[in-house]
Symmetry: C2
Subunit: 216 residues, 2 copies
Amino acid sequence: MAHDKDDTITGRITRALAERIIAGEFAPGSKLRQDHFAEEFGASHVPVREAFRRLEAQGLVVSEPRRGVRVASFDIAEVREVAEMRAALEVLALRHAAPHLTGAILNEAEAINRAGENAPDVRAWEEANRAFHRLILAPCGMPRLMTAIDDLHAASARFLFSGFRMEWEAPTDQDHRAILKALRERQFDVAAATLARHVKWIGTPPGTKTRSRTAS
Amino acid sequence: MAHDKDDTITGRITRALAERIIAGEFAPGSKLRQDHFAEEFGASHVPVREAFRRLEAQGLVVSEPRRGVRVASFDIAEVREVAEMRAALEVLALRHAAPHLTGAILNEAEAINRAGENAPDVRAWEEANRAFHRLILAPCGMPRLMTAIDDLHAASARFLFSGFRMEWEAPTDQDHRAILKALRERQFDVAAATLARHVKWIGTPPGTKTRSRTAS
DNA sequence: GGATTTAAAATTATAGATAAAATTTAATAT
DNA sequence: ATATTAAATTTTATCTATAATTTTAAATCC
């Protein structure tokens, strides 16, 4: 029953590095040296290399053959790309999850949403946000889709923590409320449309931040 | 210049194994032993392990810690999942690519489509099919989206070669024609809807194969 | 003084070897 | 004969060491 926590050294290094990259500890484009992390984690370079390959697949680092790996750089175009991919895939997931959403799940989602509104910092808010999305999408029963969405969430979080979008408010939680309301009323099309708009909002420039809430 | 072909041993092993898994050489669920392939490719097991990690990210193998990797098993549910993800992402790509599609590109797509119709076997047809999709989607200028679509194409091809769907006909190339026609007339919504239906068709049971062409 | 070539240092990629874990096989007891 | 336990073998995961490549630095030449 306990899901494999991937207790291997490669797994631990992968998780630790992913978290630090998302948190913005390394500048985009900076080199990641395998020997350095091998020493830091008290391991050899082999598991570090395997961790690099996993991070590469997640899009967190880019690897040039024989030149090592660098932290993936992301410009505004890539942020919007990730947002659009998320919108497309989360809508798909919601369409399949909606029929299986029970009242209990929606209540739990509402509680998570409240926690997000009271979050003291961006970090806590992002965690609540991710939990909210995951909770209402997971019942779709499509594992490959869920991992793809998870990877895109990580990329989004990286942007969120980068300070690119500085004035962090919690207004998107209003979108969450609207989504929950639509789901309770079995208005799946409305819920999907709101979710799409909500997800794409993260890639919009700060100045137009209200547009996405007024436009249909 | 131009040596981003990943000339590393890890890259070669990854491509070779991916091709063989897609071709159905290994039974789904069968174990892949690293020492075996290390010997076969005349390499050590380290690059084999790195290749495994890449294949894992592509969804071609699954890895249980300390138990090795197995060829990913796919049931009909997973095939449909991949088809729906492809539909969602390819529609997104087409929407961004459409404005940049020139007449020359569409002519080339038509030539590829003809080649697909004259393909002697499933293998050649799939290659033409993949080239067709890639050609009209690549101008979207979203690299992350394109690699995601490529991975899903690989999973689809695996199903196609598995003999699950045996009676292979080339009727989907009619869909290709319809897509090209709509693109030439700048009817992007029609093109997107046709593409979505076309991609999802691969996951439908054989008996209902005509449904997707008659339904709107 | 600036640019080009050469040498040195750092880093990646691979190989061979070792330890730990799991699966298989064998043996014993019921 | 079947089930349970224990030994043996196979396989994975990791480490240390070596070879090859790239980057950095210096030195020489124009």
